[in-house]
């Protein structure tokens, strides 16, 4: 079920898909050239019609997002390349291997939203992808695709590539804007700071994921019908899914939604390594509640179905764990990530995630107590009120409430493992889990 739309150029030209020459040769920048002749309404309508949903994790329709942009100008376009969710590495491939698709997408999105200055925010740990993008931007300037009067017309567009510095929370769009303004990457209050109304420099701002933007040249180049024909009836287009963990063939795969998890894990990803049994997997990035084979393996991968099962596809990162995995250790590692990446604004997230991590560490190191399971659940409840999915957001951003997913999944599906750890009562080593 692997398809080639976004990835066809890089697959066909493994050594030079990132160059301007190759991009132009394979039909590059034609979509953008066509787009600048159209009106804002036409462009936004096309995107709406294509049904492309944001690939950043929240899954909000991109066209709808554009149509919310406040009329005030200047407005800004920010491409979110701060891909930091554990398990996710799809944007790295796009940035590294096909930067021109994103640049072309930026031109289309900018024209559609009457934006004259776009920013690409790339996470700090991605200097190589950032270099590729910077080169692509420079080449585009040289060709007159960016800068004053793009494509020989009278539309001006500047692109600034901005490198982050190591903060997962900057993937949250308002935190990203703060970061871009040179401040701490702390999410802003919504209301009143919806980016579409008060974003970068308090001006209307569109924030789109790299993959979303990279889809645009294909939508405008090949047509909406082609694009919609590719995908599942609701989740149109193709999706890059990053599969990692205990599978034989980890990597990024371009798939259409609607295939089952079994097909993905045992087909596309080549099954569990060393012929082991599948124990659980994370269906959509570190903040998604876990799936277990007996309940979920034959479910189709769609946004709706995953949501119904109390999880999410998110950024499309699948982390697979085999039978030998110590689930308490795995959960602790996920919780630790959120504890370290919490921005520190909201009390429940700042204090709660760290406490959860401390409790899990204590349990792992043999200091567990009987009441710790209840304590874990109650602390989780205090961070994510009601423990529902999607979590009720009582904090400024969703990081805190989604940080408890791993703990909840652990207690829900693998309570006996926690009890075992507690019962053991002596320190155990947490390394070498993969053996």
């Amino acid at each position: 079920m692997i398809v080639e739309a976004l990835t066809r150029r890089m697959n066909a030209h493994p050594t030079d898909s990132h160059t301007m020459e190759r991009y132009l040769e394979t039909g590059g920048y034609e979509a953008a050239r066509g787009a600048i002749t159209k009106t804002r309404d036409e462009l936004v309508e096309t995107v709406k019609e294509s049904g492309v949903i944001g690939r950043g994790g929240a899954g909000f329709p991109a066209g709808l997002k554009w149509s919310f942009l406040a009329p005030a100008r200047p407005a800004y376009l920010v491409v979110n390349g701060d891909e930091s969710e554990p398990g996710t590495f799809k944007d790295r491939q796009l940035l590294e291997r096909d930067p021109h698709a994103m640049v072309e997408g930026i031109i289309i999105a900018a024209v559609a939203n009457e934006v004259h200055h776009a920013f690409v925010y790339i996470r700090g740990e991605y200097p190589k992808p950032a270099r590729r993008v910077q080169q692509a931007v420079a080449d585009a300037y040289a060709k007159g695709f960016l800068g004053k009067g793009i494509f020989g017309g009278d539309y001006d567009l500047d692109v600034t590539v901005h490198l982050g510095a190591g903060a997962y929370i900057c993937g949250e769009e308002t935190a990203l804007l703060n970061s871009l303004e040179g401040r701490r990457g702390e999410p802003r209050l919504k209301p009143p700071y919806f980016p579409a109304a008060k974003g970068l420099y308090m001006a209307p701002t569109i924030v789109n994921n790299v993959e979303t933007i990279s889809n645009l040249p294909y939508i405008f180049g090949e047509g909406v019908d082609w694009y919609k024909g590719l995908g599942h009836e609701v989740d149109t287009g193709t999706f890059l899914m990053s599969i990692s963990g205990h599978v034989n063939k980890p990597g990024n795969y371009e798939v259409v939604h609607g295939i089952t998890w079994r097909e993905l894990i045992y087909g596309v990803a080549g099954g569990i390594r060393d012929g082991k049994e599948l124990k659980a997997w994370v269906p959509g990035g570190a903040s998604a509640p876990w799936f277990v084979p007996e309940e979920h393996l034959d479910l189709p991968i769609t946004k709706d179905e995953t949501g119904k099962q109390g999880s999410m596809l998110g950024s499309g990162a699948v982390i697979v764990m085999d039978e030998d995995t110590d689930m308490v250790a795995a959960a602790e590692r996920l919780v630790r990530f959120f504890a370290e990446e919490s921005c520190g604004q909201c009390t429940p997230c700042r204090e709660g995630t760290t406490w959860l991590d401390l409790i899990l560490q204590r349990v792992l190191h043999g200091g567990g107590r009987e009441q710790d399971i209840d304590l874990l659940m109650d602390v989780s409840d205090n961070i994510s009120v009601g423990l529902g999915w999607p979590p009720k957001q009582t904090t400024i951003c969703p990081l805190g409430p989604s940080a408890v997913s791993a703990t909840l999944s652990l207690v829900k599906h693998f309570r006996h493992e926690v009890e075992e750890h507690i019962g053991r009562g002596t320190p155990v080593t947490i390394s070498g889990v993969s053996s």
């Binding site: 209301p191 921005c343 909201c346 009390t347 204090e351 406490w355």
Partner: protein
């Protein structure tokens, strides 16, 4: 107004108001740590979660970020809310040290209180708490204990949003986040004390109050800040008959709860060991302690002798602005009735005309800044002289979006928020005003902005070397701007009250022009002619025309810009009688020194720069035998055989209400019980006899000083200087930076100055400021070891010897 339902009760609240504020104002207190009604919400602490019924069901929402909508149904005490509050408190307490017994906040701590009312019974955390180094001093006045910090961002927001000194910031991230300053960059804000007051835990504490008392042994009384003219509401707290703390009170009309650090920590002079406690009489080079009877008898005898020998006009009084209005009224009565001399002045040759200050027609109020579209500040640097007014102007520009124009010889503390920063060379103000009026050249934008009303103009002398007539001209110009509201400002506290009470050569109590034919009621036997102002008195004294000088809380040797003149005057007069709290340079020359009570030691009223009359109250008893000014003056008058017959301060206040027309109806009862924020005189329906309308034709009437050199002098004041009340406050005494000279870098290079310059022969450290006009030198007034430059408008500047 919209209707919302809070816990089953329907209430009417203003549309668009934040839920937490609307609930509080209608009687439901929602617990909170980060939200503060004078700052923008951040929604960080999550303590104020409430349940709101909405289209998507009941949502748990922070009430500090939720504006009210019509028909909103809110639950603040449901089980879900209580569970959430308990959870948040448990999280906050995870790493909060339980050192409440030693913490200065213990007993008045919102975290303690809310833990008791909303928190969990006990901790479930068995892991070790986070530890940081215990209190680290982050400035001369403030200590930071990061273990106690709950990251509510109040201090961070205050410094960024309110005071504009973002020197304290969040550092690090997540669980390691803390507030801190940059290494070696102290939290040197003029407003740092406010962060101590609004800190909801004991993370920020004041060194002046550290371990001095616990909240439960403090008594407190409402009063008014005695060190500024803005009339800032304060709570004075004392224990064991010693004032220990000033807290800002949220007075909507004036200070919004804020105080500057000089006012907040400056109370220490009250308990200074140097306070005068017994009357003193001159004996040889020093003084000896005498009884009140001896002192007053000698004073009365001396004054009577001078009156007999040289006539009443040979007696003059300087000062009176440091006391209450009642003290000032007693002084004015004494001088004009008992002595019969019109020579009295509360100003120390540092201010503006008394008519302009007290009786300007159409004078504005501080509250006008809330609705102003344009704010013109042509006065001294507000940050240095009127810190709270500075905060209000800053708010107008930053939060309310007013266009701010500052006119000053240099860029001021408001420069970062000013839309237009106009600078000029001292002495060329009149030309600038002409160009501004015409809107010529680069001032066209400024002029256009001034045509956008409502305009609030804050007018004063930019420096002590400047022509006082300029402010009159600026006022005349500003009055004609659309919907203009003009505030003439001077620095010394209660100057407005003293002038209103007639401690002025050309005004009688209650804003009545002196010298007119209309007799002042109750003052039929008094001399109501126009007398000499402070400069005139000092000149007359130096010439031998004035023989007896009464100094009432005045130190002319330091406070009058022309220190030479003051020295000559004090040396020349026969009799100097001083009523003061301290033995100052001038008081040391007095024949008789009478110890006076200070603020917090007596009751009375004061008047702020708007003309707002406010009540000050007593909480401590004062040192030794010190007495209130009015009582001393009353006794003195009686011993001279010309009794005034004042029986108490309250009796004087009733006399004021009767005989001072503009103060009609303003009684202590009114201020104590009905108008706690004070009331602007005159009250509605009361007529103010003098309505002063300044004219622009006044030009070069007076002069800031003699032209003695090639550099125009800008003599501005700083917040911390060498004034006696600052000098006597242990915490703030060392904060005065000392004298220095500022030159434009071009000038500095031209004369080859480096490191130091000599200004009229006085060697001063050199600072460079490109915003200062060429050909100008700026020197702060009255700094420790500062040079006496006050008599000049122009000085000589030469490169200083050595680097």
């Amino acid at each position: 107004m919209v209707t919302i339902t809070i816990d089953g009760t329907e209430v009417q609240v203003p549309a668009g108001e934040l839920l937490i504020k609307a609930a509080e104002d209608s009687g439901t207190y929602i617990p909170r740590f980060c939200w503060h009604r004078r700052m923008n919400p951040v929604g960080m602490c999550r303590m104020c979660l409430v349940e709101v019924e909405g289209p998507r069901g009941i949502m748990l929402t922070p009430s500090c970020t939720m504006p009210v909508n019509d028909g909103m149904v809110v639950h603040t005490k449901s089980p879900t809310v209580e569970k959430a509050q308990e959870g948040v408190l448990e999280f906050l307490l995870l790493n909060h040290p339980l050192d409440c017994p030693v913490c200065d906040k213990g007993g008045e701590c919102p975290l303690q209180d809310q833990t008791l009312s909303h928190g969990p019974g006990e901790s479930r955390m068995v892991e070790e708490k986070r530890h940081y180094e215990k209190p680290i001093p982050i400035s001369d006045l403030v200590l930071l204990d990061r273990e106690r910090c709950i990251l509510c961002a109040r201090c961070v927001r205050f410094s960024e949003e309110i005071s504009g000194d973002p020197l304290i910031e969040f550092m690090d991230r997540g669980n390691a986040a803390e507030v801190n300053t940059f290494p070696d960059e102290p939290f040197a804000s003029y407003f740092s004390g406010n962060t101590v007051q609004i800190c909801p835990v004991g993370a920020l504490t004041a060194s002046a109050y550290r371990f001095r008392a616990r909240p439960w042994d403090l008594r407190e009384v409402a009063s008014v800040n005695p060190l500024t003219t803005t009339g800032d509401g304060v709570t004075v707290q004392a224990s064991q008959n010693e004032v220990l703390r000033f807290l800002g009170v949220d007075n909507d009309a004036t200070n919004h709860g804020w105080l500057d650090d000089r006012s907040r920590f400056g109370f220490e002079w009250i308990a200074s060991p140097d306070r005068l406690a017994t009357p003193l009489a001159k004996s040889g080079d020093g003084h000896t302690e005498v009884s009140w009877g001896e002192a007053l008898g000698a004073a009365a005898e001396n004054l009577s002798a001078v009156i007999e020998a040289h006539g009443p006009g040979a007696v003059a009084a300087i000062g009176g602005a440091r006391g209450t209005n009642e003290d000032a009224y007693a002084l004015a009565s004494f001088m004009r009735s008992s002595v019969g001399s019109p020579n009295l002045d509360a100003r120390l040759d540092d201010g503006l005309g008394t008519h302009l200050l007290s009786s300007l027609a159409g004078k504005g109020e501080i509250g006008d800044l809330e609705t102003a579209r344009t704010v013109l500040v042509w006065a001294a640097d507000l940050k240095e002289e009127h810190p709270v007014l500075y905060l209000r102007v800053r708010r107008a520009a930053q939060e309310l979006g007013a266009t701010l124009i500052t006119v000053h010889p240099t860029a001021t503390g408001l420069a970062d928020r000013a839309t237009h920063t106009v600078t000029y060379r001292p002495g060329e103000g009149h030309d600038l005003l002409d160009r501004l009026r015409a809107g010529s050249g680069d001032l066209a934008d400024v002029r256009a902005a001034l045509d956008e009303g409502p305009v609030v103009a804050i007018v004063g002398r930019t420096g002590l070397a400047e022509d006082p007539a300029l402010a009159e001209a600026v006022t005349a110009f500003a009055r004609d701007l659309p919907q203009a509201s003009v505030l003439p400002v001077v620095r010394r506290a209660n100057t407005y009250g003293a002038i209103d009470m007639g401690v002025a050569p050309d005004l009688l109590p209650g804003r009545v022009a002196a010298g007119g034919d209309a007799g002042h009621t109750g003052w039929e036997k008094a001399d109501t002619s126009v007398g000499l102002d402070t400069r005139g008195i000092l000149e007359a004294a130096a010439d031998g025309r004035v023989k007896a000088l009464l100094l009432v809380g005045a130190d002319p040797l330091r406070d009058v810009p022309d220190a030479d003149l003051a020295a000559r005057a004090l040396d020349a007069v026969d009799v100097v009688i001083s009523i003061d709290c301290f033995l100052t340079d001038s008081t040391a020359k007095a024949d008789i020194v009478l110890p006076a009570l200070g603020f917090t030691e007596k009751e009375g009223t004061v008047t702020n720069l708007e003309g707002r009359v406010m009540k000050v109250n007593r909480i401590v008893s004062g040192p030794g035998q010190a007495r209130a000014d009015w009582s001393i003056i009353d006794d003195l008058a009686a011993r001279m055989g010309r009794p005034l017959g004042f029986e108490s301060a309250e009796a004087i206040s009733l006399a004021i209400a009767e005989h001072a027309p503009a103060y009609g109806g303003i009684t202590w009862f009114l201020l104590d019980w009905k108008e706690r924020d004070g009331v602007v005189a005159p009250r509605d329906g009361v007529e103010q006899p003098l309505q002063y309308i300044p004219t622009t034709s006044l030009r070069a009437v007076g002069s800031g000083g003699a032209k003695r050199g090639g550099f125009a002098l800008h003599l501005g004041r700083l917040l911390y200087d060498d004034a006696v009340l600052t000098r006597q406050g242990a915490s703030i005494a060392d904060l005065a930076p000392g004298a220095y000279a500022v030159l434009n870098p071009t000038d500095a290079d031209r004369i080859g100055a480096n490191g130091h310059v000599e200004v009229d022969g006085h060697r001063l450290p050199l600072r460079r400021d490109a915003s200062l006009a060429e050909g100008t030198v700026a020197v702060p007034f009255n700094q420790p070891d500062g040079p006496p430059l006050g008599g000049s408008s122009h000085v000589d500047v030469a490169p200083g010897a050595g680097a």
